[in-house]
Each structure stands twice: as C-alpha cells, then as structure tokens.
C-alpha cells in the first residue's frame, strides 16, 4: 500500500534521514522504532508532505506521491497524526471532527463510530481543544483523522506525553480500528507498546534503517533487546 524507497530528507541542506526504504501492506500494523534523535519525526514529516525529500520515492497504492504537499496527500486516503498533534486551540471538539472530513460532508455514521471509540470526546463535544488534557488531545487528533475514513493511518509517537494507562487505551482503540480494516504505520519510542500492537517493524538509528523484520524477530534480536527493551 505504502512503499518508500531510497528516501533522504533533512533541513537546510543537511539530511537527517538517509536512504530509507520501507513497506506497509494492506491490513498490516507496522512500526518504526528508534530512540530520540533517530530521525523518526523527520521521516514522518517527509512522508506526510510537510517536508520535501532530497531524494527517494514514496508510492501510495501504486501512485508516486513524492514531494507532493501535505494538503494534497491528505486527500488520497492517508491520514497523518503528528506527535505535535496540530490541533486548533480555539475550536471545539465538534468542529474538529466536522473539519476532519473536509472537503466532504461529515458522515454521521463515521462520527458515531469515532465517538463510540472515544467516549471522552463525546462528553466534551463543545469543549475547546486548547483546554483539553494531553490524553484527550491525542484522542481528538486521531478522531479528527478518522473522520475522512482513511485507508492508512500514520501516527508519530502516539504515546507521547500520555500516562501509561492512557497510552494503553490509545493502542486498544487502534486495535479496534485494525479489526475494521484500517492499515496502521506507527513511529514509536516506547518499544514494548508498539511491539504488542504491530506485526512488523523497522529500526531507525541515526537516520538509517538498521533492521527490519517481524515483531517476533525483532523482539528476539539481542541488539534490539539491549537498546530498546532494557534487557542486558
């Protein structure tokens, strides 16, 4: 569904990610794990169109979307939820969800699915996003993305700033969505959470993909275990 080859990108001429190649097939849940500074967010920004790659290709469902700006990528059936969330502070939950479907009319069925998934949002429909807690904001960001009925959802560090219980709840919600056919790509720093949820993964270090494999393979890998799972 999503195929990235030879992707390099960075800021002001200096590449932060180098020659990244990855693949996400329909129905999968794939993770990109790495520590702080490994380039996860830069990779994310490039895939979603906020940053232009210096080289490489990104293909979505066979179409070349390399270098296409974010606002056009968002209309292709992929939605991105960034770590910064990029919510609209003075707008209400309701308005966020309505906007999520832009430019189409919001589908009432989708709306009720999202509100069922995140009952806290349903309670706070008229609340402004700026006054919500971290966990609620994360839910809202995901909910907003879901309103467009995406086929692929890409999340950058969904557990950031969330208490462990909330992070777990977020992943549980994602699991429900997977059952309904959503394909998911996650970049994550909290590796155990990602491993519990994803089938396959890539390890990103200093901007390079160092390893790839199924979750079982990665979990058994001694380098991964010592670096990310705290096993010596």
């Amino acid at each position: 569904m999503l195929e990235v080859t030879g992707l390099s990108a960075g800021y002001q001429g200096n590449d932060v990610v180098h020659n990244v190649a990855l693949r996400v097939d329909k129905g999968e849940a794939v993770m990109i794990i790495g520590s702080n500074g490994s380039g996860k967010t830069t990779l994310f920004q490039t895939m979603c169109g906020l940053l232009s790659p210096s080289s490489g290709k990104v293909l979505f469902e066979g179409d070349d979307i390399t270098g296409i700006p974010a606002e056009r990528i968002a209309r292709l059936g992929m939605r991105f939820v960034s770590a910064a969330r990029h919510l609209f502070p003075r707008m209400t939950v309701q308005e966020h969800l309505l906007l999520g479907a832009y430019p189409n009319r919001p589908d009432p069925e989708t709306m009720s699915i999202v509100l069922d998934l995140f009952p806290r949002l349903a309670e706070r429909r008229r609340q402004r996003a700026g006054t919500m807690s971290g966990g609620e904001q994360q839910m809202l960001a995901v909910g907003r993305a879901l309103m467009s009925k995406p086929r692929l959802l890409v999340l950058d560090e969904p557990s950031t700033g969330l208490a462990p219980l909330l992070a777990k709840a977020a992943y549980e919600a994602l699991a429900v969505l997977r059952e309904r056919g959503l394909t998911v790509l996650i970049t994550e720093q909290q590796v155990p959470l990602a491993m519990a949820f994803c089938d396959r993964g890539y390890v990103l270090e200093n901007g390079f993909i160092r390893l790839e494999g199924t979750t079982e393979q990665l979990a058994a890998n001694p380098a991964v275990r010592s670096a990310y799972l705290g096993v010596t």
Partner: protein
C-alpha cells in the same frame, strides 16, 4: 451624550468592518496589506464613475464590490507570490513594502487621472429618531448594512465548512494542511473577501461623508490601528476595538476638539498596544 455614543457606534462599526479585512489577511497569511485603503478608494471611484455613466445605484455598488474582490485576487496572484516564499517577520516586512509600492501606483494614478472625483451616496428621506436622538438616514443605512455584514461573517465562520476551514488555517496552518486544507487557497479567498469588505466600507462610508481619491492612506492607517488594537487576526477584536475607538473619537471630538481628539484616539491605541501588544482579544504568543 447618547447622541455622541450612537455617532461613535456608527463610526466604530465602520472602523470594525474596515479592520476585519486587514486582520483576516494577517491572521491567515501573516501578511500586512498596506494597499487596503486603495482597494476601498478604487472601488468607491468605480461606483462613482458607473453612476456618472448612468448606471443605477444598486448595480453600480455591485460593480464596486466586484472590483474590490478582483483587486484582492489580483494582489494574491501577483504581488504576494514572492511574499509567500518567506516566513515570519521577513514575510510581514516584504508584504508591507510591496503593498506600499502598489498603493503608491494606485494613488498616483487615481490622483492624476481623477483628481477631484469622490463618491457620495445620498440616502433620501429625512432624519429618523432612534433612542430619542435624530440620526441621519445615511448613517442608519450604513450601520444597518455593516451590522448585517458582520452577522453574515459570523454565520459564515461559525457554521459553514468553508468558514471552519479558514479558521483552522488561522489556528494551526500545518494542522490544516494535514487534513487536506490548502492554506494558499484559503488565503486567496480571504483576499477576495477582504477586497469586497473594503469596497463595502467605502460604499457605506460614502453614505455619511464623501470618499475621495486622497482618502487611501488614511483609510489604511485607521484600519491598521484598529486591527492592531483589536488583536491581529481576531475579527471580534477588530469589531470591539472599532466600536471603542469610534466612541472615544466622537466623544473626544465633542468635548475637546477634533485635532486633540485624534491625538487622544491615537494615544488610546498606543496605550493599548503598549500594555497588551497582542491586542484586546489577541492570543498571547
């Protein structure tokens, strides 16, 4: 006193609507349009010329509004293109300078070709009594139109998906892009809208006092001051600041004298900026 306050509100509504266009452009695009007053003046002169040529009032006004919108679009497509490539302060400065250049071109041309032209719309009928005060029909119609416009804008931004989309770009541009909203497209719409609003203010103003080819700079300056006091990017702030400044202006003029009242108005604006640079309702950065 009531008469003065009402007069102040009438003036203030005009200030507010004037500032609205400018504040939207800044809030959405981080751009200051110093050619704003010129758009208003060109629209007004268009209406005047059309009426001279025999066109009835309503179509002439419609033409003026159309011209205003087109000028906004023109700015977006031409002068502002290089501005969009910059960010932050550089973008504001370049937009300021380039639109200043445009305002010169328009000002020079208008004053050379139509030096004495002015638009004055006379609303027939005698004075009407409001709250025990006699108000000129022209002022009333102008205020009514302005209020209706504000109501329309309010509905637009609150309840339509396009209005929400525009607001989202003001709130968080990247966030808007991530849900498929094109900020450049929204900015183009806002520039057209602000052009129409400028034209509308010029037309309603002409119901109270003539709008001539030399008004351009003062319109821009007033719009800028009200915008800044209300908070850059905040429409409700623009309206609030407009009304407050309008009332101050009229009361000071009645109590003291027109020149000093202008100083007081400017002083009030300066004090607001110094105490609260974000403006009355601005979002603190």
């Amino acid at each position: 006193m009531i008469a003065n306050i009402l007069d102040g509100i009438v003036l203030g509504l005009q200030f507010g609507l004037l500032a609205t266009g400018l504040t939207l452009i800044y809030g959405l695009g981080g751009v200051l349009n110093l050619g704003y007053g010129q758009i208003a003046v060109v629209s007004a002169i268009t209406v005047a010329l059309a009426m001279d040529a025999g066109m009835p009032v309503l179509p002439a006004v419609g033409l003026g509004l159309l011209v205003g919108g087109l000028l906004g679009l023109f700015l977006d497509q031409t002068i502002l293109r290089p501005v969009y490539r910059l960010r932050g302060e550089g973008r504001v400065l370049l937009s300021l300078l380039l639109t200043l250049g445009v305002s010169f071109i328009v000002d020079g041309f208008l004053n050379w070709r139509f030096p004495l032209k002015a638009l004055s719309l006379h609303i027939g009928g005698g004075a009407v009594e409001i709250l025990g005060v006699l108000m000129r029909r022209g002022s009333l119609v102008a205020s009514a139109i302005t209020l209706v416009t504000f109501a329309g804008l309010f509905v637009f931004f609150r309840s339509t998906s396009l209005g929400r989309a525009i607001r989202s770009v003001i709130e968080d541009e990247d966030g808007a892009r991530l849900i498929g909203i094109d900020p450049k497209q929204m900015l183009r719409l806002i520039l057209i809208l602000s052009g129409v609003l400028a034209a509308l203010v010029a037309v309603t103003r002409s119901m109270v006092a003539p709008v001539d080819t030399k008004s351009g700079l003062s319109i821009t300056v007033f719009a800028l001051i009200v915008t800044v006091v209300g908070g850059l990017g905040n429409v409700v702030g623009a309206l609030l600041a407009g009304i407050i400044l309008g009332i101050i202006n009229v009361i000071a003029a009645k109590l003291i004298g027109s020149y000093i009242s202008l100083i007081i108005l400017l002083g009030a604006a300066a004090v607001t900026i110094l105490i609260r640079p974000a403006g009355l309702l601005g979002v603190k950065e």
